[in-house]
Amino acid sequence: MNWLRELARRIRMLANRRQFEVDLEEEMRLHLELRQQDQIKSGMSTDDAQAAARRRFGNVTSLRERSNMAWGWEWLEHLTQDVRFGFRILSKNLGVTFVIVLTLALGVGANTAIFGLVNGILLQRLPVPAPEQIAALVIQSGESSLGALGFSYPQFVEFREQTAPICEVFGSATAWRLNFTAEGHSDTLTIGGVSSNYFSALGVKPALGRLVLPGEGEHPGEQAVVVLSYAFWQRRFSGDPQVIGKQVRVGGKPATIVGVMEKEFRGQFSIFEMDAYAPLSTVFDESSASNFWNSRDIHLMLVLGRLRPGVTLAQAQSRFDVVSRRLAAQYPVTDKDLNVRVMDERLSRPIPYANNAFIMFSGLFVILGALVLLLACTNIANILMARASVRQREMAIRAALGGARSRLLRQMLTESMLTALLGGIAGETLGASLSYLASSTHLSNIPVRLGFGFDWRVFVYALVAVIFTAISAGLSPALRATRADVNTVLHQGGRADAGGKARHKVRSDLMAAQVAGSLMLLIVAGLFVRSLRAVERMDIGFDPNQLLNVTLDPSLDNYTRIQTNEFYRSLETKVRALPGIQSVSLAASVPMGNTLGNQSVYVEGRPVPSGQRAPGAFFNDVDPPYFDTLRIRIILGRAFTDADSETAPLVAVVNETMARHFWPGEDPIGKRFSLISDAGPFVEIVGVARDGKYRILAEDPQPYFYVPLTQHFTAQRTVQIRSSMPPGLLAPLVQHEIQALNASDSIEEIQTMKESLGGTLGYFIFRLGASLAAAMGLLGLLLAIVGVYGVVSYAATQRTQELGVRMALGASPRQILALLLRQGAQLVAAGLLFGLVGAWALTRAMSHMLVGVSPSDPLTYLSVAGLLSFITLLACWIPARRAMRIDPMVALRYE
């Protein structure tokens, strides 16, 4: 423990530093005086004695320093000196400091925000005990356009039973829009329908009441209960503890609130927030989705597993492989190629579709963020470089007075570190508040939560960014400034730039790099924006303008089939009487919204070989005016009419792709297929409708068909209203009519078609990408403008004298302007060239994120390059014009 006592002594000394210095001073003075007295006694003159005493003592200042250094605190003293001096320099150049701090704040802010989001969405583990044991179980399947699917409930149960020794399998099927009524007011909620062991396996705790209990809710028809999320409880019930035991309606059925989830747990998906949780039996009853409990084709369960302690992913994988093979043998039709992948839960984010592009997407944005930071660094390096040349004089003199180069360097670096820290703090605050804002914004009709985890990872990331900036931007100017030779500098007169050509070269390179970097950012932004435009302009097969969607489910009010039909008929009549209505229709499914399941298609006369599955197609139940209301063109045959009644022959309208796919080269009208079996009953095709988008915007054309609502009953329907009135204004009127029919509880959702298309299956992800990329692009552009302007105007000032001479020798202002502009233009051109190459390389990774535009889209590249060169040349032109107006006499006397 010797070193401990030593450390204690050192710290005591640090605390009494003043006293220490005074003591040492006194001690040394005493020594010198006593020596002097002794010398005088031995016969020296007073002056000689003093000199001799000093000589024998040695260099007092250096000895004092050495005594001080003995305590090992000199680094601290130097640091405080440097910091104090640094602050003085910074406050003396407030303008420059402000620009640097602001630049950094933007750079670090953008990075913190992006990394904060990526961290929250991809890196942080679930907020549950022992999260490293949680694995995602994903069914691999090549056939779906969305990649892998979830499990069907029977598959889920089999895996849960058969892998129990190594893993506790649990999962949930999310009801994305479920009506929740309490105290006479309805909300549309995202409710996680959870397996009975879901919460016990996760190990989460209720904030209030209880969660779903083991064994609860895996048989249809059980008593319905619901657990509120903490956020929804706060939002909707103001955190009232009395909600426990309250009777509410979930999906129209009476249910009891039994608990509130703890605050930290917001659902198993890192970007979707659950408003509430309920047992599976509360979300799926026998009537609404009878298939859920029995069908092996309805893949709604997204499944996780908690590995038993000590079990590795590989061990779990081999166990799941065994079970998969067993099930494939047992159910050859449905489970033939069953293949379950066991993976780190974080790799399955944001949703466990095997080929999701999200990781690439975040990677791209982290790179873009780094690019912004690099641009910021370049700017700062430029500013520091300019300042370094001003300070070369100071440095040279200090070096001449005995300042060691390392000490001067350290001081310069301390200065840039200080600035970087200031900018870093500003940036982290900016970034943290940005992404906090993003994560706490509740988007009313999209259950998306941009998770923001400000934890050590984000902090370290930003810190590394700051240190990187300080060193990369500060080192080279510092090296240059301290390299100055006092002789050269002092002989140079007022113009303190001893670096001359070499220095300007570096600054020019930096400027070109800046143009290149911002071009890359802008091209990525341009591609995303073009992709969004393409998606928005994309032919989705119907006209979404001026449409209002009202989704209802009268079965929630316990209507019978006849009552339901009657209800819709009277509602349609009432709505038609509202002002400005052009067309009203009913449909079971809304494109890019709630979709009906995949339906097997058995083509008449072409029996499905045994052991094979019938091909599938998605479909919709619609009424006769539907095609008019949505403006879907019928290109062959006819649409439905009132004659296609319940008792009339079964009919269908198919889309172009379905007609081509199932009856290539034939006239599809009059052809028949069955939804049930090879033996019928058959429906006859009476018309062909234009292709459109049905489930997600990015999908390829796919087979789709329509059947009349009269012949294929569903209780849940969406009333679609086309009117000349803005649909937002129409909504309350329609709501009023529904109230008049005493059916308020049936309302699931009222949305304009435009709003509905803005959802997660629609434009949302494209808009998010485009606006994020555009923000980064603008930031990059801003930094580039500041950088180019700075370099050119600095160069112009540095060359004042030269320009004056040129003018005195007869150069016209126009020639001066051309001279400066030409040099600027060369740099911009070089930057553009590198930028184009860089952008081309960077955008290779983007092909999966873009729709309707190629990652090497020449139009984007050229227009962005054109725009950037225009703006940067403008940034050259302004300082160049100023230089042009130099009065030669003033310029010559400049120094």
Partner: protein, 115 residues
Amino acid sequence: MVRSLELHRDEIPPGTLYLLILKTLGRSGELHGYEIANSIQLISEDVLQVEEGSLYPALQRMLIKGWVTAKWGTTAGNRRARYYQLTVAGRKRLAVEMSQFERVIGAITRVIEAV
């Protein structure tokens, strides 16, 4: 030149300053800096010259190591002075330094005499 008027003195061998200070303090008890310098010079009969000022950084280092303690007192001439005194650790150190020194000197002597 002033320097030529002075007696020629030998610089102390490097690393022995601690030993000299420890030994001096060990012999005399409490001493202040000037007394230590004088004492070393006197006993070595003016052969060993300490750059007097370098005593002070050395004393600081010894304070840190805990070999000596210091307290303020008054000199015979009624001046305030800092008096240094060996600690227990200092005494142990003295023994260590002594034996090290003797070993080295012994070895050097043997090498020289072998010639």
